[in-house]
Each structure stands twice: as structure tokens, then as C-alpha cells.
């Protein structure tokens, strides 16, 4: 009979190792364990993807381009170029003779024929481009010179680390792009870093800031464009929404462009309110601080009744969480706590040690905490801890359903905002809709003859 937890994995699961809740994390995935993680290329691609008027060329065989084509819910107010997939679609002969020529020719063709005319191209090197030794930096340099546009190489072979390394590569690419704009004069306004405008979330945050009198200069990278990105160096402050992917960029902008940054979070009432106050206070204008407080008060009073309406049907329910980063897990545990729910399973793909410490403290006393979990472990612990709902990515959804467990989509493909005050309503409503759906009754009950 099969087991549910590999010996080697026990160190990453609370109460199955000698350290109790101090689990092992930030390690390479275990071969054959069916990790839910993606790769370096994925990390770089998702951070840069929302730059709407860029041509994102995936240099490699077709698969990587095919599986990342327009799969994320980042919205645009301008160009839709980013929703296309461009790939050099390398074949057997290219592998043998090298793909540099094809890449050059591909850029030539884009410059000659593509509408709208490219101003910015990102070239991603995937596993194979790395292994066959294509010098994509040289190709990009030559193309930039030839056409007088920006062509930025992103060397992201999948095997060269984990997804967070890809984030870092993307941040470096953005810095390479905007550094030439460093000498513009400053304006009163902020940049939003690390929000990807999933279901318009950047727009929501931006609307709050503008309402309280804070102009938003550039958004990196939700609904970004070349022109807007180039204005980023003029901001007086950077706001970092997704710390995991963008702190590194903020740090570089601080040391190289002297733009200070503060971290913010717009998930849940408390985080949203605190972040609004913090941004307003940071800019040192009392009238803005006052407006921030007024806005938060008004919007909170609108949202609280919605939460109160659903709370009775959610109190005491048991949640399992398996998401990408540690901060999202923490934020979710808190939101569940506020709804009177318990978190009984909590895991992430790439959480850090400190984050797990907080997760342990916040989650239910009997909760199991696990890093880089696989389907077998999720199955075992969700059943063992009698979870009522799983929050996770699309791959986990069918598993939850098969186990008779409700599911909340908190991933990058969703089409409903979960940030800001609008997002709180969506979240509570979704959790209610799935946990209390009438379908579970029919799945769990039925005449004796119908049981398989």
C-alpha cells in the first residue's frame, strides 16, 4: 500500500520532524514528490507579463510559450500586445545549429511587420536556450542598436533555481529598462510595485490613492506600459504590494534612484486601512492623511454589514490553505480568523522561515504546517484535519472537489478582485458560496445502493 508522506518530506511538515513546528523550507523540491512549484522562467514571465505594450518573446521550443499564453488575469487600459504569445518555436535543427539567428530574424520580422510598432521587447531564454549556449544578450544588444528601441534579455532557464529567482531576474530587467530615465525631475506622486492588476486590483488601489489626493505615476507591472514605466524614476515614494516579488526591485530603486519605499497590503479591511494611512502619512500632508482616514471609515462601514451577513454561516468552519508565498497564507489565516473560522492546514510553495513561524502562531493549535506540499500530503491532511475549504491554485481545485471539500480561487487566473474593500466582499461571498453550496449534501448523502 502507498504511503502519504515521503521520509525525505517529513522535515518540511510540522509535527512530523524533530523540531515540531519549525519546518524546513527554502529547499529544492524533492524529485518524484509531485511538487506544485513552477520554475525560474515562470517567475520572470509572470512579473513582466502585465507590461501591456511589450513584446514578450519566449526563446525556446514551443511548450513554455504555449502554457504561459495569456493565462493570467492582468487587465490593461491600453495596449493588448502582452496577451499574445511570441515564441521562436525552436525545432530539432535549431537545437543542433543554435537559435541565435532565428531569434535575430524573429526580431527583424517584428520590427518590420508588427503593429503597433515595438518600442520594448523582452527576450526570455528558457532551459534549452541556456543549454545550447545561445548568447541572447548579444542578440538583444545588436537589435537594440539596429532599431533604436529597448530589447531586454531575461536569462531564465527553468532549471537554474526556483520561481523566486525568476522574480529577481524580472526586477533586474525592469531596472535595466528604467535606469536611463534616472535624471528626470521629481514629481509629487508614487509608484505601485508588485501588483499585477489581476481583475483590476491595481485600478482599485489607484482609485483609493487618487481619491485621497495621491497621484500614481507608474504601476509595476500591473497595467504598465513602456512610457509609464519610464516615468517611474520621477516618483517620490514606492509602494510595494507583493513583497515577495518586488522588494528586490524597490531596494534597487532606493539605492540607485534614491526613491524610498514602504510595503503595503490591500488584502482584508485591516491591511487595506493600515496601508492607506501609512501611504498618506508617509507623504507628510495632513490633508491627505485626513482624507485617507475618512475614506477608510466610509468604506469600512459599507463592507462590515456584508461580512456580518455571511459570518453566521461560516463560523467554526475549517480552512486549508496552500498558496504560493508565505505572506498570502498569513493574510488568509487572518481573514479566516476574522470570519470566525479556523485554519487547520497551512502550506506554501515558497514560504520563508520567519513566515512559517507566524503561520504556526496564527493558525489553529492543531493545524499542520507544510512547505512545498504535494497532492498526497494535501489529501492526507485535509482529510485528517477535516477541512471544509481549500484555498489554492487551479491545480489543487479538482483534488479538493474530489475529496468533497469546498474551494476558493486565490490565484493569478481569477477574474474577480480580492484586494481592497471591493475584494473583501468578493472573498467573503466566494467562501460562503462554496462552503455552503447545496451540492455537498447530495455528494455526501444518498441511498445505500448508490455508494461506491
Amino acid at each position: 500500500m502507498h504511503m502519504s508522506v515521503l521520509e525525505e518530506r517529513k522535515a518540511s511538515i510540522s509535527d512530523m520532524n524533530e523540531h515540531g513546528r519549525g519546518i524546513c523550507c527554502e529547499r529544492e523540491s524533492v524529485s518524484g514528490a509531485v511538487s506544485q512549484r513552477a520554475c525560474v522562467y515562470c517567475g520572470a514571465r509572470v512579473v513582466l507579463n502585465p507590461i501591456t505594450d511589450a513584446y514578450h518573446i519566449v526563446h525556446g521550443p514551443i511548450g513554455c510559450a504555449s502554457y504561459t499564453w495569456d493565462i493570467r488575469g492582468s487587465l490593461t487600459s491600453g495596449a493588448s500586445t502582452y496577451r499574445n504569445s511570441f515564441s521562436t518555436d525552436l525545432r530539432e535543427t535549431d537545437i543542433v545549429f543554435g537559435g541565435e539567428k532565428k531569434l535575430s530574424a524573429a526580431i527583424d520580422e517584428l520590427m518590420e511587420k508588427a503593429e503597433p510598432a515595438p518600442k520594448l521587447i523582452f527576450v526570455y531564454a528558457t532551459c534549452i536556450a541556456g543549454v545550447i549556449g545561445d548568447d541572447i544578450e548579444a542578440v538583444c544588444r545588436a537589435a537594440a542598436k539596429k532599431y533604436g528601441i529597448r530589447v531586454i534579455p531575461v536569462k531564465a532557464p527553468g532549471f537554474s533555481g526556483t520561481k523566486p529567482q525568476g522574480y529577481k531576474l524580472a526586477c533586474d530587467a525592469i531596472m535595466a529598462l528604467i535606469l536611463p530615465g534616472i535624471n528626470q525631475s521629481k514629481r509629487f506622486g508614487v509608484n505601485i510595485l508588485g501588483d499585477y492588476n489581476l481583475a483590476g486590483e491595481t485600478w482599485i488601489i489607484r482609485s483609493y490613492l487618487e481619491e485621497i489626493g495621491i497621484p500614481v505615476i507608474s504601476t509595476i507591472t500591473g497595467d504598465a506600459s513602456y512610457e509609464k514605466l519610464m516615468r517611474a524614476p520621477t516618483a517620490v515614494l514606492n509602494l510595494v504590494q507583493c513583497a515577495g516579488s518586488s522588494t528586490y526591485l524597490a531596494e534597487r530603486m532606493y539605492s540607485e534612484m534614491d526613491i524610498p519605499y514602504i510595503k503595503v497590503s490591500f488584502f482584508g479591511i485591516e491591511d487595506t486601512t493600515a496601508s492607506l494611512f501609512r501611504v498618506a502619512d508617509a507623504l507628510g500632508k495632513p490633508e491627505i492623511s485626513a482624507k485617507a482616514r475618512e475614506l477608510a471609515k466610509r468604506r469600512t462601514s459599507e463592507v462590515v454589514p456584508v461580512i456580518e451577513k455571511y459570518k453566521p454561516s461560516l463560523e467554526g468552519k475549517r480552512a486549508a490553505i496552500f498558496v504560493g508565498g508565505g505572506f498570502k497564507a498569513i493574510s488568509l489565516i487572518r481573514q479566516f480568523n476574522e470570519l470566525g473560522m479556523k485554519t487547520v492546514v497551512a502550506g506554501t510553495q515558497t514560504g520563508k522561515k520567519d513566515e512559517y513561524e507566524i503561520i504556526s502562531a496564527l493558525a489553529d493549535g492543531e493545524a499542520v504546517i507544510l512547505d512545498d506540499a504535494n497532492p498526497a500530503e494535501l489529501e492526507r491532511f485535509m482529510l485528517e484535519k477535516q477541512a471544509d475549504i481549500l484555498v489554492g491554485g487551479v491545480k489543487e481545485r479538482p483534488l479538493a472537489y474530489k475529496l468533497g471539500i469546498a474551494f476558493c480561487d486565490h490565484n493569478h487566473e481569477r477574474k474577480h478582485p480580492l484586494a481592497g474593500f471591493e475584494g473583501i466582499e468578493n472573498f467573503v461571498r466566494e467562501v460562503h458560496t462554496t462552503i455552503n453550496s447545496p451540492v455537498w449534501k447530495y455528494v455526501k448523502e444518498g441511498p445505500a445502493w448508490a455508494q461506491i
Binding site: 509531485v34 495632513p286 492623511s289
Partner: protein, 864 residues
């Protein structure tokens, strides 16, 4: 795009070999797959499949890293195989290579051999499939996996009388249908692969992570002893075809059939089965009859269809043939695979039907992408797409219906239940095609014929009366409906003696006043926000604070933006009428249905007393000259409004001793020019204006004038004289809530330093903090001050020294009462204490933690 690039694939109409290989392996009983490559391949493929099939899809990865790539991935793969066995206890494991493993030259056969040597007695059958991503598409990967399974299974050649059935990638539901058909025909068969249960499972009491369906290894081992192989593919060559392999190696005869779609496809299959000793049952014949009957029923609707079909070659060929049989014009056949044979087969097919489609060209593309497909769809006038959901972007862009019946389907549910095989499946496709055409006709033909043959002039909007009835000002019984006035028009082109426009008076409520001017974009935002909270909002008005038409650019842009967002909302504007004749046609175009014109006099000598001056066409006019120009334009404008079917209300400000005896004339003229109603309202004396000393007329006096004028024209009796940024119903103006409040007063605050990584929570050890978030709090209000980098407080040249580091940390927080961190060591705590700084350990939200800390300290100090 539509640029047709040669060196660049734009929007791929294909996936990679590993995808096809692992899909096929899902149809083998007790089989798990591991992809030998980097972690991303497995994760992306799982996501792609899970979203289509709505089933858990567990695929392992050998998770190759930099080291594995340089020194070989043998150790990773050996460990991965052991782990997979531990976790799933599979009967078989398919090891599929990827781009990476193939390029670094992994000898998977040797690694598998080594695994058997190291792990004797596992009893697990390991099959390796060479599947470089650049070697072909999912179609090639699918057949490569089936062939590898056959090649690596020890076969029993003893004749068993069975027939082998091999399919390309078909849906689980179609697979179930195929099994039912073969059973119904009384065939003893081995189907390879069989996805029917594994990728379309049932809800069970106990979940089995190792799926229990699929073709068993023991059945596969008997395939060499079968009497016939039926392979549903016209595109596998001898090197790739599993049937050809069984013939070459074991002399099992084979037939290759097209997918059983349409009359010919199904007839070929049934004939083959009959020849092989199977029974064509009455049910099958009836199904055929029903399909033919339906073809006849639908043929005229289908004749309107101009189809583009895209996907794998066998799928495309089968669907194009179905189109041809039914009179659906097949304009485009496209595949992402390299397949010159597609053109051969379909050219022949089209030749057979060319009499029915005179003068039509069909495009057949292989190695294509969606950019090219889109270009052809535009050129050829395609009106029906058939394929995977990857065609949805073209469908949305060109407004063409898409029938989703191939992998992957990501935007609809039911990918696992697609039915297109057999008479029933074909009928499903046929019905969907015919219904797409019927839907198109049904929704469009009335308007199209009306536009073409009846429409001679733009018709007046049919809903003008409904709009009037729901307008809180024009309609008498619409008091429950709300309106919003958007203050986008600051400038005015006349100066009335009773008016002084002033933007910042919070408590004033009268026309011409607004707290803040909005840009058109802000106006749209305000509207959207209000509309959400106020479903009874029926009217958007622009009433200044200046004159709507003196700021026509802003007015036009605002209305245009809102119309884009909301097609139904009633537009209303208010004006003094000076620019009205110039803009009536544009107002009509913008969809303005209601206009209020303020006419205080119809005699220039009376007007001269009311209007100080007017600015018209760049010149200022005063006295009767100014009043005459204004009057002429007002009257012409009102007439033009009436002719354009725009409801016009005439407002008249009653000014005691100036025009009160003249108002009867005003209303009479308004009626004669076609105005809908007049609104006589008392003047509100405003300090600083010329008429500040003029007495306001009493309600009784106004009522009396209205009664007299009622003989001329309908009178508005419910005016609230609203502000130009009013919002809500007439009786409940909520605009005050939209405005800003002044900042509260400052209180004594204490400073706190917070160690945080996420920024939201106190989530980092004191010793690890590279920066601190500084706050001020009085225990209730907490304000952010700044972030401080520890490194910037370093005195020495190097900050590596531990002692220097402490100095800089303390420097960074020197002015704070306390430091908040996830944890803090005893030594640093002591150092802080020495400097009069407390240390607090917490994992609260940042702002909450600071507020609590400040509150506690106030309590301790006895201040609270």
C-alpha cells in the same frame, strides 16, 4: 497582429510532445508519469490538463537543477522513481523526457536499467518515452508514448481472437461511447489508451490518488496476439504508428480509419467492424437514421456557415468532412503540427464537393499559429470556429461563435465530456453548428432588414417618454428616482445679477455651486461609484457650476465616457441657452434627451436689468444689446430642441419687481416654441451679488404665478433648486458625503520602530532587520513616519563589524520609545534598554501592534 511572421510563432496552435505523452499514459491502468526535466514542465502541463478535465492530474518531475543539468540527472531520476513508487504504489511508471533531458543527452534507458538493478522486486513496469519538446506537438508525443508502451512490453503472441483499437487524443466521454459501440457490436477488443475513467472520474466515498481505470498491462501484453488492429489515424507514418509496429513485429494486420465522425466516418467504422465479424445492431442503424434525418432538418441553416477548423490533423480532417457532408462551407483547415499530408487529404475532399461551393477557395495550413488563422478568418469571412478554446480570442475579436470540442478547453466546463464521435457525437456538433447560425439570424435579421429597407432618417429614441417619466425633475411621479449633477463645467459665458459662483461653500445649496470641479474621467468614476450604491439613479445632469455649453469639450467628453459605460442612463443638461443653437445637433448625437434652458425674460429691456453682460464669440456685450443676442439664441435653441425631439424645460427665476409680472409672457413663448414645461422658481439672494438686497419671493407668491402660467404650459411644482454637484433623490442630497473633511487636530504622539519584512505584519527577528518602519501613535491614532535603513545609520566605513552594526541599529531607532519585532535576543534587548528603548515581541499587524504598544505605555505612565 496579423503580421504573418515566419521566424516567430504568434499565439501557438499546438502544445509540446511531453503533454501528449503524459496524456496517453493517463489511459494505462495503474500508471503514473514522471517528466525528466525541470520542475516547470510538470507544473504547467498539470495546470493545462487539470483545467480542461476538471480532474486531479498528478505528474511528477525529476526537478532537475543546475547541477543535474551539468552533471546529468541520473541521481534525481532514480530518487524520483523511488519516491513515486512510495507515494502512489503504481503498477507502471512512464518516464517522459523533455527538451532539457534530451538536449543534455540523458540515457534514460540506462538509468531505468540501473533502477531495476538497484531496486529488484518492485514489480513496477517502467516505460521510457523520448519526448523532446522541440520534436513535435502533443500529437506526436501521444503516439510516441503508445508505441513505447508496446515496444517495451513483453508480448504474448498466442492468438487470442481480439482486435486492438488505437485512438488519437479523444475525450473521456467519446472513449466511453467507443467502448459501448464495440461492446454493442459484440467485439472482443483491447482499447489503447483508455482515458474514460481516469480523466473523467466519479465522486467516490474514498478518493484514490492512483486512478483505477485505463488499459491494463496484462491486456497490452496480449496485443501481439490479436487478429486485427484498428488505428483511428490517417496521419501516423510507419515509424510512429503503433498499428504498423504490431504488424512489423508480430504480423498483426491493421486498418487505419479516420475518426468516426459524420456519415462516411461512421459507415467506414461499422463496415470494418462487420467485416471483422461484428454485428451492426438495430440501435446503430436507428442512430444513423436519426443523424441523417437531422442532417436534412438542418441543411439550410448549415448552408449559411463559413467554418474555420483548427487543431490536430485527425480532428481537423474529421470535422472538415462533417462540414462538407452538411453543406457547411469549410473555408479554413489549420493545424499547428507539421503535416503536409493534411493538404493532400483535404484537397481531395474539397475537390469532391466543389460543385456545391462554386468559386470558393479553401485554405489549408499546417505548422500554423493563431495569428495566421486570425488573418485568414478575416480575409475569408469566416462566421463559425470549431476547435479548442484557444480560438476564443479570435472569436471575441471578430465576434464569431466558437464551438469548443478539442483539447484544451479552459474557459468552459465540460472538456472531459466533449462528444463528437459516432452518430450521436456528430449530431452534437451538427446541432451546435446549425444553432449558431439560427442564433445569428434570429438576433440580427429584424434590425438588418429594417436598417436596409425601412430606415430613411434617424428615428427618435423610442424611450423618450419612459425617460421623461423616470426623470426626477421632468416626471412628476419619479421622486423615488435619483439623479446626479456632475460638476465638470466651471466657466460661464454670461453674468446674471443674482449669481455669484463660489466653489467652496459646503453648506450652500443652490444652482451654480459645487465644492470641487471634476475632470470627465473623475466624473465617470463618481458616476460609476454612485450607480453601484444607487440602483435608482436614472439621470446624469450637467448643470455647471458654470454653463454646460460654455464648457462643451468637458461636457461632451463626460457624456461620451458615461455613455460608453451605460447605454441607458438619461442625459440632461442645463444651460442659459447662449450657445444652444450651435450645439443642438451634437447634443442629439450624444444622446441628450432632456435640456433645461433658463429664460428670465423674453423682452430685451427686461433682460438688460437681469444680465450684467454676456460673452459671445469672443466679444462682451452689455445692456439691451447683450440681452437681445442671448434672447435670440435662447428662442432659436428651444425651437431646435423641440424639432430634434429633445424634451425642453424652461427655468425662470422670479425676481421681485424686475420680471415677476413678465413671467406669463416667458411661459407663453416657451410653450409656443415647443417646450415641455416651465419651472418658475424664487431667486435666492446671495451676498456679494448685485441682487443681494432683493427680497426673495414667498412660496405663496410663486405658487400664484405658477397657477396663472399653468394655462400656457405644464408647471413644475417640485423643484429643490439643487447644487451643480447634487446627487441622490431630490429630497435626499448625499453629495455632502462625497466631499472631503478637514484633518483632525494633532495630539501628543510617541514614536515606535517596527521590524517587518512584509510590511503588513511584525514578521522578522530584530537581529535580521535591515530596516525599520517608524510610527507615531497616541494609542488611538497611529501615523506612519518613514522607513529607516540600518545601513544609513552606520558611522564607520564598514558596517560588517558586529559592534558597528549595533551602533547603527540603535542609531536608527534612537528617538523611539520601543522597538517591535518578531523576536529579540537578550543582548540586543539589554543594549536597547541602556538607551532607554523598550523591546516588544509580537507578530501582530504592524499598525495594530504599534497602537496597542502606545496604549499600554500610556496606561503604564498613567497618562490615559
Amino acid at each position: 497582429m496579423g503580421a504573418n511572421l515566419v521566424n516567430l510563432n504568434v499565439n501557438p496552435c499546438k502544445m509540446c510532445m511531453p503533454m501528449g505523452a503524459v496524456s496517453a499514459l493517463c489511459g494505462i491502468k495503474g500508471c503514473m508519469s514522471i517528466l525528466h526535466g525541470s520542475q516547470g514542465c510538470a507544473t504547467y502541463i498539470r495546470r493545462h490538463m487539470a483545467t480542461h478535465y476538471n480532474e486531479p492530474v498528478d505528474i511528477a518531475s525529476s526537478s532537475l537543477t543546475e547541477e543535474g543539468t551539468v552533471f546529468g540527472g541520473e541521481a534525481n531520476l532514480l530518487k524520483g522513481l523511488r519516491n513515486l513508487i512510495d507515494l502512489y504504489a503504481p503498477e507502471a511508471i512512464g518516464v517522459c523526457t523533455t527538451c532539457l533531458a534530451e538536449t543534455i543527452g540523458e540515457d534514460v534507458g540506462a538509468i531505468v536499467k540501473k533502477f531495476y538493478e538497484q531496486n529488484p522486486g518492485t514489480g513496477v513496469k517502467i516505460i521510457h518515452v523520448a519526448a523532446p519538446g522541440y520534436g513535435g506537438t502533443q500529437n506526436e508525443g501521444w503516439f510516441a508514448a503508445i508505441r513505447a508502451v508496446l515496444e517495451q512490453t513483453e508480448q504474448s503472441t498466442a492468438p487470442n481472437g481480439k482486435i486492438n483499437v488505437i485512438t488519437p487524443m479523444i475525450s473521456p466521454a467519446d472513449t466511453r461511447w467507443l467502448k459501448d459501440l464495440l461492446n454493442g457490436a459484440g467485439m472482443d477488443f483491447i482499447l489503447l489508451p483508455d482515458l474514460s475513467d481516469n480523466l473523467d472520474g466519479v465522486t467516490e466515498k474514498r478518493y484514490n490518488r492512483l486512478k483505477t481505470g485505463g488499459t491494463s498491462l496484462s491486456d497490452i501484453a496480449k496485443m501481439a496476439g490479436a487478429r486485427l488492429t484498428v488505428e483511428f489515424s490517417e496521419f501516423t507514418d510507419e515509424k510512429a504508428s503503433p498499428a504498423a509496429y504490431l504488424y512489423e513485429t508480430y504480423r498483426v494486420p491493421y486498418v487505419k480509419l479516420p475518426l468516426p465522425v459524420g456519415v462516411r466516418g461512421m459507415d467506414q467504422l461499422l463496415t470494418t467492424l462487420e467485416d471483422a465479424g461484428g454485428a451492426v445492431t438495430v440501435d446503430m442503424i436507428k442512430a444513423r437514421g436519426r443523424y441523417l434525418d437531422a442532417m436534412v432538418d438542418s441543411h439550410k441553416y448549415c448552408a449559411k456557415a463559413r467554418a474555420a477548423v483548427f487543431g490536430e490533423p485527425d480532428f481537423v480532417t474529421a470535422v472538415i468532412r462533417l462540414c462538407c457532408e452538411n453543406g457547411i462551407l469549410p473555408l479554413l483547415a489549420a493545424t499547428g503540427s507539421v503535416s503536409p499530408r493534411l493538404k493532400e487529404l483535404l484537397d481531395a475532399e474539397f475537390e469532391d464537393y466543389k460543385d456545391f461551393y462554386p468559386a470558393e477557395e479553401m485554405a489549408i495550413l499546417d505548422d500554423s499559429d493563431f495569428d495566421e488563422i486570425e488573418r485568414y478568418c478575416r480575409q475569408l469571412g469566416v462566421n463559425l470556429l470549431i476547435g479548442s478554446s484557444d480560438g476564443r480570442r479570435i472569436a471575441h475579436k471578430l465576434d464569431i461563435p466558437l464551438i469548443r470540442c478539442a483539447f484544451p478547453i479552459h474557459d468552459y466546463v465540460g472538456g472531459q465530456r466533449v462528444r463528437m464521435l459516432g452518430f450521436e457525437g456528430s449530431l452534437n456538433l451538427l446541432d451546435q453548428s446549425a444553432n449558431c447560425m439560427l442564433e445569428k439570424t434570429e438576433t440580427g435579421f429584424r434590425g438588418a432588414l429594417y436598417d436596409r429597407f425601412f430606415k430613411t432618417r434617424p428615428a427618435p429614441p423610442a424611450d423618450i417618454h419612459a425617460k421623461t417619466a423616470s426623470h426626477p425633475c421632468f416626471g412628476e411621479h419619479a421622486c423615488k428616482n435619483a439623479r446626479v449633477h456632475l460638476p465638470v463645467a466651471p466657466k460661464c459665458n454670461i453674468q446674471c445679477n443674482y449669481c455669484l459662483r463660489n466653489f467652496d461653500c459646503m453648506n450652500e445649496s443652490r444652482p451654480g455651486v459645487a465644492s470641487k470641479i471634476l475632470t470627465p474621467a473623475e466624473a465617470l468614476e463618481r458616476y460609476m461609484k454612485l450607480k453601484e450604491s444607487m440602483p435608482n439613479l436614472t439621470v446624469v445632469g450637467i448643470a455647471g457650476p458654470g454653463d454646460a455649453l460654455a464648457n462643451f469639450e468637458e461636457t461632451r467628453e463626460t457624456l461620451r465616457l458615461i455613455r460608453e459605460y451605460d447605454a441607458d442612463i438619461t442625459f440632461c443638461i442645463a444651460t442659459n441657452g447662449l450657445m444652444l443653437p450651435m450645439y443642438v445637433p451634437e447634443l442629439k448625437k450624444l444622446g441628450v434627451s432632456h435640456v433645461t434652458v433658463t429664460v428670465n425674460a423674453v423682452d430685451p429691456s427686461v433682460g438688460a436689468k437681469i444680465y450684467q453682460h454676456i460673452n459671445y464669440m469672443g466679444k462682451t456685450y452689455t445692456g439691451t444689446e447683450g440681452a437681445s443676442i442671448l434672447l435670440a439664441n435662447q428662442l432659436a435653441g428651444i425651437k431646435m430642441l423641440a424639432d430634434a425631439d429633445i424634451m425642453c424645460k424652461v427655468n425662470c427665476v422670479a425676481l421681485k419687481g424686475i420680471n415677476d409680472s413678465h413671467i406669463f409672457e416667458v411661459t407663453k413663448q416657451a410653450a409656443a416654441l415647443g417646450a415641455f414645461m416651465t419651472n418658475i422658481m424664487p431667486h435666492i439672494p446671495v451676498r456679494g451679488s448685485s441682487f443681494e438686497a432683493l427680497d426673495r419671493m414667498t412660496n405663496m407668491e410663486i405658487k400664484a404665478i405658477r397657477e396663472v402660467c399653468g394655462v400656457n404650459i405644464k408647471q413644475m411644482a417640485h423643484c429643490r433648486q439643487c447644487r451643480s454637484d447634487a446627487a441622490g433623490t431630490l429630497d435626499e442630497d448625499i453629495s455632502i458625503h462625497l466631499r472631503e473633511k478637514p484633518a483632525s487636530e494633532t495630539r501628543p504622539y510617541k514614536r515606535f520602530a517596527v521590524a517587518t519584512k512584509s510590511g503588513a505584519i511584525v514578521d522578522i527577528h530584530f537581529g535580521h532587520a535591515k530596516e525599520f518602519y517608524i510610527f507615531e501613535s497616541d494609542g488611538e491614532d497611529t501615523r506612519f513616519v518613514e522607513t529607516r535603513k540600518v545601513s544609513r545609520y552606520c558611522n564607520g566605513l564598514e558596517c560588517d563589524d558586529k559592534e558597528d552594526r549595533w551602533e547603527s541599529v540603535i542609531g536608527a531607532v534612537a528617538d523611539c520609545e520601543a522597538v517591535l519585532a518578531l523576536r529579540i535576543g537578550l543582548v540586543p534587548e539589554k543594549r536597547l534598554k541602556e538607551n532607554g528603548i523598550d523591546a516588544i515581541a509580537t507578530y501582530e499587524r504592524v499598525e495594530t501592534a504599534v497602537t496597542l504598544a502606545a496604549r499600554e505605555r500610556s496606561a503604564m505612565n498613567g497618562i490615559a
